[in-house]
Assembly symmetry: C2
Homo-oligomer: 279 residues x 2
DNA sequence: GATTTTATTCCAGCATATGGAACGCTATCC
DNA sequence: GGATAGCGTTCCATATGCTGGAATAAAATC
């Protein structure tokens, strides 16, 4: 599953103290590792994962992760299911999130948009933001169509580039930047229908030419999704709105129609954001 | 040099942890400190606070806090307003909160209750949970009365015992337990209308005898609030529902009426929770 | 029930976090 | 406007606190 590139490689065999590659002496190794562990836990969402898995994905030794987790659990940031021994996020993570929420009002800002789209389209609509080399789904609205493609839960972390939302966020970037992101996530991509760096780059290219992101990988069999990026007034993409549905409801004709509706809503949103930011 | 022993002595009373004294050699000092810093930042909510303030509240040296914060900001857990230099929670705190949310469904469970109460009462209704020696407001509903007592924002952390909700959470506890909590929070209480340990103990005692928590301290001038605890089927209080309003709408007669409504709703909630937990 | 895999504890050793000192900057006061 | 106080930041010698290999216990798997 997910490997985090940020996880510092093992301690460099100390050859020359001053010269060589940055010896990292900012005195924050432990915190970096702890935060990384939290990101790994979050990427599994509700299900949680075991110690050994976390150690693998965070590229750390088991005793180290164990010690970190013991502390995080004691503090309430993480929690362990006593039955399965799976680690999950704890109550303090939830509470800190509540305290942070007012500063990230994108969700509220987009709420009417999502509702309108879900009602009009009938399928599931997602709001996704970029977070480093990850994406996080921050909201979701279900449409009325009885077969619902609930492709991802609110709060889910995935490598940037996976899913229509992830593709949309890469679309506006220069080729070099896309390459960089793809390579940073190389190992983690495999878990998504065996996605590879060149494959991802090709999908971004295709999305660019169509002017909307299309995810037809069988990550969830039988489902297809499309997305558009939301950009700041400087053109930087920071979020995406996507629609997921069963394949039969994603014919090229219907996709064209959906993209039109999406584009109108996204443009309205971008205008709204530009206003808000013009100080 | 006695540097660390001194630091150890200054370490604040840890929540949910055995008495200090012990030399603590579990190799997690840094993480504990970082989490503590986050709690301090969260307790200030939207406004944020400066480095020196954080250092004071966390009982740490400025360079130490600075180093921790630099890392937390780089990781996205915290963020700094470049203009005011105030630190706040960052996007990752929000995102981790989203990922943790599904496991803490109390909010959704209580949502109808809060709405009903707010509509019936017309004043502001709060849902608060206990978190160690703190309370956290996890939801709020405004009534229709035009003067709104928005005493605390969702996400706000306060010392356990402050406010009607905090009192309600202490009400069902034995006197010794109340004392313990009050003393653990002694220093922090001062910030709330000069509240002291004996004063708080007395307020809890009064609340016990009235069978509802009453907060008439001038923390917010002109406002009064009342609350009832929500208990597990084992009798442990873990949350509280409170109502805040201007003094003139909190006469003894009206309080009696409000408490009746609150009690009915709380009892219904407790039955619902007992059902859910009986597996 | 044997074997593999995982969770946890221990501890020697040294890399890492620590905090005093120092410096420049900003805010406040008179 | 000059003095003063407090804050933010960098630096670095030091020894503390973190690390991870090894060992052991506990589960999971076959």
């Amino acid at each position: 599953m997910e490997r985090y590139p940020a996880a510092a490689a093992r301690r460099p065999a100390r050859s020359a103290r001053a010269a060589d590659a940055a010896p990292r002496n900012d005195g924050t190794q432990t915190i970096q590792r702890a935060v990384n562990v939290l990101r790994v836990i979050a990427s599994r969402g509700h299900a949680g994962l075991r110690l050994a898995e976390i150690a693998r994905h965070a590229r750390l030794e088991r005793p180290t992760v164990h010690r970190i987790l013991k502390c995080l659990c004691a503090e309430g940031v993480a929690a362990q299911d006593p039955a399965t021994r799976h680690y999950r996020l704890g109550h303090l993570a939830f509470e800190l999130g509540l305290a942070a929420a007012p500063q990230f009002s994108l969700r509220e800002l987009c709420a009417p948009t999502l509702s309108r789209l879900a009602e009009r389209i009938g399928d599931t609509v997602f709001l996704t933001v970029r977070s480093g080399y990850d994406t996080v789904c921050i909201d979701r609205r279900e449409g009325s169509f009885p077969i619902k493609a609930l492709l991802l839960d609110v709060g889910t972390r995935r490598p940037l580039g996976v899913g229509a939302g992830g593709l949309a966020l890469l679309m506006p970037l220069a080729d070099a930047a896309v390459e960089e992101v793809a390579r940073a996530n190389a190992t983690r991509l495999k878990a998504y229908a065996g996605l590879t760096v060149p494959r991802l780059v090709a999908m971004v290219k295709r999305s660019k030419s169509m002017r909307y992101a299309l995810n037809d990988l069988p990550v969830t069999a039988g489902a297809t999704s499309i997305a558009l990026p939301i950009r700041t007034r400087f053109g930087d993409p920071f979020a995406a709105i996507s629609v997921g549905a069963i394949e039969s409801r994603m014919t090229p004709a219907r996709r064209t129609e959906l993209v039109e509706w999406l584009r109108a809503e996204v443009e309205a949103l971008e205008r709204l954001l530009a206003e808000k930011a013009t100080l």
